[in-house]
């Protein structure tokens, strides 16, 4: 493992107090009735989740990560920049990653402004991602899924122009016209905060990351597929004259640590089950609104969905996805192996998974900070010294 090893804590901030009959609902997204949201319980959850992010900072995580979803119990972060603004004064050292607001769901100039504000407020600790947004977001927002990819690319163009060129400039696009693109404030970091694309492996998104030399992180794809995507991105970016560095390839891993493997599984599996079986539950139609995917991608994903169909099976999840549940030693071993294979030193830890109770999150983060992070940093440092000699 080369370079500085990096650990993020990703939080989804789910609303976990589901009604008893929630299994009767085909989806916890898009049309899951919002009468089931209790703001008093929501307030307590926000307090708990923010405390967990702050704890990650105190324990020495390198970054905390928030993101955006709409109409869903999966996440209470419809506006992640509000969460970022709330935690900046409390997060002393860690980077704050908003990974991120889909640019299609805001005016690009406004998103450039909001991110610049967060970057200035945090003295240059912001990192951002430009997701297309899940299919579900297009059922919840008044944006056409059939033109989403063209709009997405144009939005990123506008944001980068706003950040990298001295204003006022102008922009005459297919979706937006700016006569005076001149956003105040401007980012603290120059030329702008580090940028990533987060996606589920569409060739179009890989091409976009390659075009700009952005980092890329795949979500909800199998290990094998994630490996292929990283290779594809490196190749595609090289063709565009960009060298993708290891730290640009965050590797999302579900991690839970306890005293023994058995105890770790006993404590974590119910919450991993909740994450896959309930929090992520939705319909093929909501996942793929018309025009959102190419027909080819739709067929590939439909064929894959048929194979994965059949309820929660921890062994299968463990086999297919990056899941490290066990002792600290076992987790270190897996992370190092996967980091090596994926060509990354950037671990994006899903350490507060599903409806995990607060004490388990605290335990998990504490053991990560005590027994995993320092060891992996030390070993990477030793390798670096050997390499230097």
């Amino acid at each position: 493992m080369s370079g500085n090893v990096r650990f993020n804590l990703m939080h989804f901030m789910p609303y976990v107090h589901l009604p008893e009959n929630h299994k009767e609902f085909h989806s916890l997204w898009v049309d899951f009735p919002n009468k089931y949201y209790d703001p008093k319980r929501g307030h307590k959850l926000y307090q708990q989740y923010i405390a967990e992010l702050v704890l990650a900072d105190r324990l020495g995580f390198d970054a905390v990560v928030v993101n955006e979803h709409h109409n869903t119990a999966y996440s209470m972060m419809a506006a992640p920049n509000l969460i970022a603004a709330t935690i900046i004064p409390q997060i002393k050292n860690a980077k704050i990653c908003v990974w991120g607001t889909p640019p299609n769901l805001e005016y690009p100039n406004r998103l450039a402004e909001e991110y610049a504000m967060l970057d200035v407020l945090s003295q240059g600790r912001l990192e951002v991602a430009f997701p297309l947004g899940t299919g579900m977001e297009y059922w919840a927002n008044p944006i056409n899924p059939a033109t989403a990819r063209e709009r997405h690319e144009e939005s990123i163009d506008i944001i980068l122009q706003a950040w990298t060129q001295d204003g006022p400039t102008s922009y005459y696009g297919n979706f937006y016209t700016y006569r005076y693109l001149n956003p105040w404030p401007r980012p603290y970091q120059k030329p702008h905060p580090p940028c990533y694309i987060v996606g589920t492996g569409s060739p179009e998104t890989i091409a976009l990351a390659a075009k700009y030399g952005f980092g890329y992180s795949s979500v909800f794809v199998t290990k094998q597929r994630a490996l292929e995507l990283n290779q594809q991105l490196r190749r595609a970016a090289a063709e565009k004259g960009h060298h993708i560095r290891p730290e640009q390839l965050p590797l999302g891993v579900i991690v839970y640590i306890a005293e023994s493997k058995e105890k770790a599984e006993e404590e974590a599996i119910p919450h991993i089950r909740y994450f896959f079986e309930d929090a992520l539950r939705t319909t093929p139609r909501f996942l793929s609104p018309p025009g959102y995917l190419s027909v080819d991608q739709l067929k590939k994903r439909a064929a894959l969905a048929d194979k994965l169909h059949g309820g929660f099976n921890f062994e299968a999840i463990n086999e297919s996805f990056f899941v490290a549940v066990g002792t600290a030693d076992q987790v270190v071993e897996k992370l190092e192996e996967w980091g090596e294979a994926m060509g990354t030193n950037h671990f994006h830890i899903l350490g507060a998974i599903g409806n995990m109770t607060h004490w388990k999150v605290v335990k998990n983060l504490s053991l990560l900070a005590q027994d995993v992070i320092p060891r992996m940093r030390a070993r990477a440092g030793a390798e670096r010294r050997v390499a230097a000699e």
């Binding site: 008044p142 056409n144 059939a146 063209e150 018309p290 025009g291 027909v295 067929k299 048929d306």
Partner: protein, 260 residues
């Protein structure tokens, strides 16, 4: 059992219209009768064959539907009007009888309001495009695709042979493609905000045809269309849903009588 060929009885021409592959089905001889199809092409056009006894029936697949190619540059209904101007030039069609169904009804109305002198007679069958007042027109993009076929007819047997018996990736992909084209055109508004303002330009003889039990675009919409096209006739067929032409031979015959 193999599904019947939904295009049996037609000849197939391939044209390139301003760069877009455009497949045109034709049958019969005589003066041109152009049929503009709706947003789903899977149930074919067998119902139109009786018209071929008197007319040269011309059924083009719209770009992004059926056998025609894709062109994302055709991004609103008016682009399709212009596409048909090009196609009619290529086919040597000047004046025509125009029949439009559902999405094709909206398209036919828009073509006719701009090029009225070319349209000798106009038939709109369960046309989409007007925003409902008392009873909103169903937004097809809001319906789960698996629920749509049963909503189209009163007698499911009429369309059953054209549907796959089980999961069928190709069929699913074809429908997804047509849904994507529809979304490109109508996602922001599943109706045309301006059409009612201009419908008075439909001064040619016009017939509105509806299935009484249309569950996609309710039959009450017929009167709303006539509010804007005062001289239009309305014919409503009992025991038929949205696919009134597929379900009721009487409706096909009524269209033929009106056109003659």
């Amino acid at each position: 059992m193999a599904r019947p060929d939904p295009l049996a009885g037609f000849e197939r021409e391939i044209h390139t219209v301003n760069g877009v592959k455009t497949v045109v089905l034709t049958a019969g001889r005589g003066e041109p009768l152009v049929f503009l199809h709706g947003a789903g092409t899977w149930h074919g056009f067998k119902f139109a064959l009786p018209w071929a006894e008197k007319y040269r029936v011309i059924i083009p697949f719209h770009p992004g539907f059926g056998e025609s190619g894709d062109d994302p540059g055709l991004s609103d209904m008016h682009d399709y009007v212009l596409h048909y101007l090009d196609l009619f030039d290529a086919l040597g069609i000047d004046k025509l009888r125009l029949v439009g169904f559902s999405l094709g009804g909206l398209l036919a109305a828009k073509f006719a309001m701009e090029h009225g002198r070319r349209v000798e007679r106009l038939v709109l069958v369960g046309p989409a495009g007007l925003r409902g007042q008392a009873r909103p027109t169903s937004d097809v993009l809001s319906l789960p695709p698996e629920q749509i076929p049963a909503m189209l007819v009163t007698n499911f047997d009429v369309i059953k042979p054209y549907l796959p018996e089980g999961p069928d990736l190709d069929f699913m992909g074809d429908r997804y493609r047509e849904g994507g084209t529809l979304a490109r055109l109508l996602w922001e508004h599943p109706y045309d905000l301006k059409i009612s303002r201009h419908l008075h330009r439909l001064t040619m003889p016009t017939l509105l045809v509806w299935g009484e039990d249309d569950r996609l675009i309710p039959v009450q919409m017929a009167e709303i269309w006539r509010r804007f096209i005062p001289k239009a006739d309305i014919q409503i067929f009992k025991g038929a849903g949205h696919l009134v032409l597929d379900e009721k031979r009487e409706a096909v015959d009524a269209v033929q009588r009106f056109l003659t």
